[in-house]
Amino acid sequence: MAELTYREAVARAIAQEMERDPTVFFLGEDVAAAGGVFKTTEGLLERFGSERVRDTPISEQAIIGAAMGAAMNGLRPIAELMFSDFFAVCWDLVANQIAKARYMTNGQVALPLVIRTANGGGVRFGAQHSQSVETWMMAIPGLKVVVPSTPVDLIGLMAAAVRAPDPVIVVEPKVLYATKGEVPDGEVVDELGVARTVRNGEDVTVVALGAMVPKAIDAAGHLAQEGISADVIDLRSLVPLDVRSILGSVERTGHLVTVEENPRLCGWGAEVASIVADEGFFALDGPITRVTTPHLPLPAADVLEDAAIPSVERIVEGVRRAVS
């Protein structure tokens, strides 16, 4: 057991997999010599050398294209997109190429690759460096998407992603990089597609993801004092989606609240709500509530950004409304 920051967990996860499998390579902008602009990949160049840990030009289409081509020819690349907003400059490679190659070729092309990225707001970077884009990928058939909320989950899900025979996007909430958590010694490997109940409750099901998970747990604490007991689920994976865990909880609680950092329209919470409004309809005792960032770009000023991203208070209100 050791306490690591989420930031340190990233390098630990990549190192664990590069150590295990010589076909794992890592590329991105400023990731090697500089150890990453978020300092998440320090030491990897020294440990694995410049053949396997590569600095690239500012050419995201080339970075993601290179990862795809390399995966087609025997490597298991991990590509970093420094900020998840930059998926937009290489979206064709991600959404039209990587996601579709296997299906279009009826299984001839396998793409065991990982794209990892710093995602989300809370750091006052403004509208073009703060987006939560996990639902962009969820909407594209052929991509698997995980969003770890703790250091140990980051390591385990990154390992599962690297070992998966399909393309997986590992979304790292940048606001969590400085957070700490216990990590067991030795190899850590997790499973894709499994949610985790992080707090047990009976009155309402609260489904959260990434940076919203600690806030949801906080909110559940406040709600307990009001006698509202919340079952808090850390979704962890958007594709595959652990529908069973969600429905199972709602069957018991009769109420659902989703907590999303992404802007409102077509967020993952909408998908979860639509599933529950269908398959879990008769278990519902009241309206489904979604707590999201309003449908706006994120502003830079702290007062404004704090007003935009779901806060513990807004989650508490959302739950109150749901169970009232």
Partner: protein
């Protein structure tokens, strides 16, 4: 360069001729099948451009990788992909090389290192660079050959792929098939330089290579040289082969935006018969050449019958092969 270049032996050149004829007759048949309404959707033929495909195909090692576009029937076929399976894909049959999921624009045969036909302009250039990166990293000695069109030289992916390929000295040969048009617009009307690829090679620290894409011997010599350079660690090349598509951009296009004289001029320089005559002049006997034509025609006929006789895909295959487990589940 034609004078200084070394021309391959007659046997190799006859093999190149066979490949050109395979491409030509396969696509002529494909065209007939469109007209019969047996091929749905769209299709983009390379009729007129076969010398580029054959000249390169003949210079590749069996494990070299090809990346091409929606206009990639011939490139895929010449890697050794079974003709009936390609025809089957065009006809949307279960026996199609992609089980009917890919269609005319996405012919792929990984077993023969035909690594895909890509329908978004430019996208396959960085992908080809990546495959070459893996070859370099794994020391396989493979070379990636990436075919694309003149219009593709104006999209961002072209720029990013060439720069990356050069700084990493990747074993990849980028081949611009300059057929003078994007879809219906002349490349000259939308490009800041005269030779869309060759005039940009220097921007990536590369040699400017501009060749007659209708001369199979010239193409083959260039292919041998650039592939050898890539294989021996000499890094990437960018080749611009000037050629012409005899038909329109796709089945929907009569190609009327092209001046009649231009079309007539290029048709008079049809690479396939011209190469046959050159080989005969160089000592091949006419009978051998005609024998090739007959064999290829027979192969195309057989493949057509086989494909036509094949069943349509079972609708239950719709949700297979999204994931490596063979399925497409997004939930538990």
């Amino acid at each position: 360069m034609a004078d200084t270049m070394t021309v391959a032996d007659l046997e190799t050149r006859l093999a190149i001729y066979r490949m050109m004829q395979e491409g030509r007759l396969f696509e002529k048949r494909a065209h007939d099948l469109f007209l019969e309404g047996l091929v749905k959707g769209t299709s983009h033929l390379g009729i007129g451009q076969e010398a580029v495909a054959a000249g390169f195909a003949a210079a590749m090692r069996s494990d070299d990788m090809v990346f091409c576009t929606y206009r990639g029937h011939v490139h895929t076929l010449l890697r050794g992909a079974p003709m009936a399976a390609l025809m089957g894909e065009l006809l949307g049959r279960a026996t199609g090389i992609c089980g009917g999921k890919g269609g005319s624009m996405h012919l792929t045969d990984v077993a023969h290192h035909a690594m895909g036909s890509y329908a978004i302009v430019g996208a396959h250039m960085p992908i080809a660079a990546g495959a070459a990166w893996a070859a370099q990293a794994r020391g396989t000695g493979q070379v990636a050959v990436c075919f694309f069109g003149d219009g593709t030289t104006n999209i961002g992916a072209f720029h990013e792929a060439l720069n990356l390929a050069k700084i990493w000295e990747l074993p990849v040969v980028f081949v611009c098939e300059n057929n003078l048009y994007m879809e219906y617009t002349a490349i000259a009307d939308v490009t800041a330089v005269e030779h869309p690829a060759a005039d940009r090679a220097a921007a990536y620290g590369l040699e400017s290579i501009l060749i007659d894409g209708n001369d199979a011997d010239v193409v083959h010599a260039t292919a041998v040289r650039t592939i050898e350079r890539a294989r021996s660690g000499g890094g990437p090349s960018l080749v611009e082969a000037v050629t012409y598509r005899h038909g329109g951009h796709s089945r929907a296009d009569p190609g009327k935006y092209r001046p009649d004289e231009e079309v007539a001029d290029w048709l008079s320089r049809d690479p396939v018969p011209a190469y046959a005559e050159r080989l005969i002049a160089d000592g091949a006997d006419r009978e051998t050449v005609q024998g090739i034509d007959r064999d290829v025609q027979a192969a195309v006929d057989a493949a057509t019958e086989e494909a036509k006789a094949a069943p349509f895909p079972d609708p239950d295959t719709l949700d297979t092969e999204l994931w490596a487990d063979g399925g497409s589940a997004w939930r538990n």
